[in-house]
């Protein structure tokens, strides 16, 4: 199955204009709150009406403002998981799940509900009411209810945001398994980077109503298309500079903040000398060198020196900020490295901005 849509909607201060074509994969719609992610799902499902646009499932239009096509919500075949699940509080788990099953006899309903209870690890809970379930169970009932109706596409609106960390981890893994079993074209909305990376084979980064990048997760993560995307995927180290020239495989950039930096040249549009460029490097891709240790034989390429001005433990890693002569660099290091190098606030160290880790934002 495939889903394609092109939607426009204007509010007073906000305008949304998205255009995507998706296949049988799980696509993550990622972006900050207020970017228009949920609104996009609502317009695909028919809960919200676009000012103009087209929505097609398998090449068949379910909405077209120009051709006056507007299939009613109930006939669109869109499965929708609400952020807080919207379980029917007056119905048991079994009744909730079977709510969208129609046109089959009682025995068939029972079998289908039993099957879904099994897949969703909900056996034994069929007689309970939603108020008697944990958050994770509620989410699974909601997903089972949505899948039971046999949707052609599946829209998941921040499905994990109401859950605590451990449950979330487990349910993300569950969702991937379920997606394998029911390979329906799926869109998952999230503002959580880790979740986007874990679940989305393909990620659409949306900001202020526009898609800024639509690509595989590695691309979005390491090769952001815009400064905003770089920011959203946690690449805080974004700098500007001017291309001084291309030497061999390297692009030489003169940056006010960092001095002369060499970046590996990738397959991209030609860079002209004198052109202004933005480039970024991920905080966890930066090795630290103590000046009193190492550093034998010549000054390495892209060495930047500075003083550590803050150190924050994040559990498995440490976040440090390095103040150089012209910039503040964010560095994320595994705890053992911090321990081995005895890094602490106030220390002067050098860091290597490896040329293959530097990404020039096109």
């Amino acid at each position: 199955m495939s889903l394609s849509f092109s939607l426009k909607k204007k509010f007073r201060e906000f305008s949304l204009d998205v255009d995507l074509t998706l296949d049988e994969d799980l696509t993550v719609l990622f972006g900050p709150s207020g970017a228009g992610k949920s609104l996009t799902l609502k317009m695909i499902s028919g809960l919200e009406r676009p000012d103009e646009g087209v929505v097609e499932i398998d090449g068949k239009k379910i909405f077209d403002s120009a051709g006056r096509v507007d299939v009613p919500i109930r006939k669109r075949g869109v499965g929708y998981l609400f952020q807080d699940y919207a379980l029917f509080p007056h119905m048991t788990v079994a009744r909730n799940i079977s709510y969208g099953l129609k046109g089959i006899e009682a025995a068939g309903v029972k079998e289908r509900v039993g099957e879904l209870l099994d897949i969703m690890r909900l056996k034994g809970l069929e007689g309970r009411f939603p108020s008697e379930l944990s958050g994770g169970q509620r989410q699974r009932v909601a997903l089972a209810r949505t899948l039971a109706a046999g949707p052609r596409i599946l829209l998941l609106d921040e499905p994990f945001s109401a859950l605590d960390y451990q449950v979330r981890e487990k349910l993300r893994a569950d969702l991937l398994k379920i997606h394998e079993r029911f390979p329906i074209t799926t869109i998952l909305v999230t503002h959580d980077l880790e979740e986007a990376f874990m679940l989305g084979g393909v990620i659409a980064v949306i900001n202020e109503g526009k898609v800024e990048q639509f690509a595989g997760r590695e691309d979005v993560f390491y090769r952001p298309a815009t400064r905003n995307v770089a920011r959203f995927v946690g690449s805080r180290n974004i700098f500007s500079g001017v291309v001084k020239g291309v030497e061999g495989g390297d692009v030489v950039i003169e940056s006010r903040a960092l001095g002369e930096i060499r970046a590996e040249r990738r397959e991209m549009a030609n860079l002209n000398t004198g052109q202004k460029v933005d480039f970024c490097i991920r905080p966890e891709e930066i090795p630290v060198i103590r000046k009193d240790k190492g550093l034998t034989g010549g000054r390495p390429m892209n060495l930047v020196e500075g003083e550590i001005v803050s150190t924050t433990g994040r559990g498995t890693t440490h976040i440090m900020f390095l103040k150089t002569s012209g910039a503040l660099l964010k560095i994320e290091l595994p705890n053992f490295v911090v321990r081995d190098l005895a890094l602490a606030t106030g220390e002067s160290v050098g860091v290597l901005l490896k040329k293959e880790s530097i990404w020039i934002i096109p």
């Binding site: 919500i73 109930r74 609400f82 919207a86 509080p89 007056h90 709510y99 969208g100 109706a149």
Partner: protein
């Protein structure tokens, strides 16, 4: 002691409550779900009996449905029903006065049902009628039932408008509240006390039942 007023009051109130619930349900749904020109005006009109003096309301009804009015003659010619100075007139008075007491809580209960639940039902393939029947009404029924009980209670206590429209004809239109007034006027303390006792007990039980609904005991 003549128990006709008690019987008449129950008959009038029951009939009035049926009409109130049927028409009030439609009004509550429309007010809760639809946006249209004049919605506020309609709301104000329905709520009028809560604040307008019952005698004024009765006067309006008398003028509107009297035998000399167009509406009154129309109803009499077409349906063969005379409203003024009959028990049916008392029903109309009770219906109009009790309508706001039903519509207000019923509308609030319907509005309280989360739109997301109704959307979820639509997304699962249900028609608007199906959504109303399986989601909205089952979740709002407490408020609707409480409204119906309040409307019934209001109908049993209707005095001013009923007196204006239906009059005080013994054995024909003399309802319980009017009979109490009459008994006191006549100095018939025994009848007055007995009827007052009945009404008081009834009023207490009504509020108790309503509280059971709103606390979710049913």
């Amino acid at each position: 002691m003549n128990l006709f007023p008690l019987y008449l009051t129950i008959k009038v109130s029951f009939t009035a409550t049926l009409i109130t619930a049927a028409l009030g349900m439609v009004l509550a749904l429309v007010l809760a779900k639809k946006d249209f020109f004049g919605k506020n005006a309609l709301d104000v009109l329905i709520m009028q009996p809560l604040v307008i003096p019952p005698t004024v309301l009765g006067y309006y009804l008398l003028v509107a449905f009297g035998r000399s009015s167009f509406l009154g003659r129309f109803i009499e010619d077409v349906f063969g029903v005379q409203l003024v100075f009959t028990w049916k007139g008392a029903v109309v008075a009770a219906f109009i006065s009790s309508l706001p007491l039903f519509v207000k809580p019923a509308r609030a209960a319907i509005e309280e049902v989360s739109g997301e639940l109704e959307d979820a039902a639509r997304l699962l393939g249900r028609t608007e009628l199906g959504v109303l029947w399986t989601i909205t009404l089952p979740l709002a029924w407490r408020g609707i039932a409480a409204g119906a009980v309040m409307a019934f209670a209001r109908a049993t206590g209707e005095f001013g408008a009923t007196l204006m429209v239906a009059g005080n004809i013994p054995g024909l239109t003399r309802t319980l509240p009017i009979a109490i007034y009459d008994a006191v006027q006549m100095g018939d303390d025994f009848t007055a006390n007995m009827l007052v006792l009945i009404v008081t007990l009834f009023s207490f039980s009504v509020l108790y039942v309503v509280s059971l609904f709103t606390r979710g005991k049913f």
